[in-house]
Symmetry: C2
DNA sequence: CCCGACATACCGAACGCTCGGTATGGTCGG
DNA sequence: CCGACCATACCGAGCGTTCGGTATGTCGGG
């Protein structure tokens, strides 16, 4: 499983033969197909893991009684740090989306829409109470800032000069200051 | 050529057989291979077209004598509007990067790095003269904001409620206000 | 004006190979 | 001795690419 994620992240799902995954994991294709019915199931597993945790943590923050700005700060920080913590998973997540079968893709998309709408609601709340600027549509702001976060996996390098915490803090800063009235 | 881009954007490069491209273009595979040596050359053509134009327009703006904030505003607007104008190309551009052969990939990466560094230099200039805030690394800000722009192709829909100009204006607004001291 | 010589544009069947998946049989703990 | 677990050998579909061949100009010498 971990072997599969590493290979998918490095070479892409399509370009990784099942035999190579099996070799890297120290088993044979027979064993692999004993546990996973299809190659796609390996990919589906990645999506389930990622989405479950992130959604739960985001909702815990959103439902807390922090001030709005701090909620948003915490949400962005969390998603940045968890993306960096599981960088390979994140790369696979965003790079292989279009290879999923239509049914799975729709489920993933729905889950993501739920996440998006929850954050959007937070921003709209802030716009009503004057915490956030109102001259930009909330949904566009969400797409903008999470777009930035989702590209993280393609340029961040753990050996670089920036630690995960620094990136998380800066990202949250940029998001908040862009929404300040 | 246009047929190929449409198919690549919809199904992905890997999942599009050469025969299908040929059919969509109303020719045969023989004819196609008369003009393109390999399937990858079709993809390379997409990258050349995109990068050439964007780089030229960005440098024209960067070298102009507009104030810094207006330069940045114009650059973001330009890249958003051209992304939306050629949405299929943009989708292919960001979705197929990891399928390029190492040689081509390095060339594309180098070109992108040039673009990145030029914009970074603009922001650093603004930081020195006090136009932009200095408590965030310029290169991180560039990655952040262009990350947001590069995800555009995955959620923007031309039939949606937002016109290309509106998105461009809002994106540039968000970028600038996040960098205001 | 015509004819042979050559170049360019194109066709589409076939090749070689890789891949995801399966069928079969062995092994071992309970 | 049985069923869960797994190794091995194999299948057939699908892929990018090749290649022998044809059709359609182009052009210079007689």
């Amino acid at each position: 499983m971990r072997a599969a994620i590493t290979l998918f992240a490095r070479k892409g799902f399509d370009a990784t033969p099942v035999r190579e995954i099996a070799d890297a994991a120290g088993v044979t294709t027979g064993a692999l197909y004993h546990y996973f019915a299809t190659k796609e199931d390996l990919l589906v597993e990645v999506y389930r893991q990622m989405q479950g945790g992130q959604r739960l943590r985001m909702e815990a923050i959103a439902d807390s009684d922090l001030p709005l700005r701090e909620k948003l700060h915490a949400i962005i920080s969390d998603v940045v740090e968890s993306t960096i913590a599981d960088l390979d998973e994140a790369v696979v997540f965003f790079q292989s989306f279009h290879l999923l079968s239509p049914r799975v893709r729709e489920m993933v998309r729905g889950e993501r829409r739920g996440y998006h709408d929850r954050v959007k609601a937070l921003i709209e709340e802030g716009q009503r109470e004057g915490t956030f600027r109102s001259d930009v549509p909330a949904t566009l702001a969400v797409s903008y800032h999470f777009g930035a976060v989702h590209r993280l996996g393609l340029w961040y390098h753990p050996d670089g000069p920036l630690s995960a915490e620094e990136v998380a803090r800066h990202f949250a800063d940029l998001t908040l200051s862009s929404l300040t009235p």
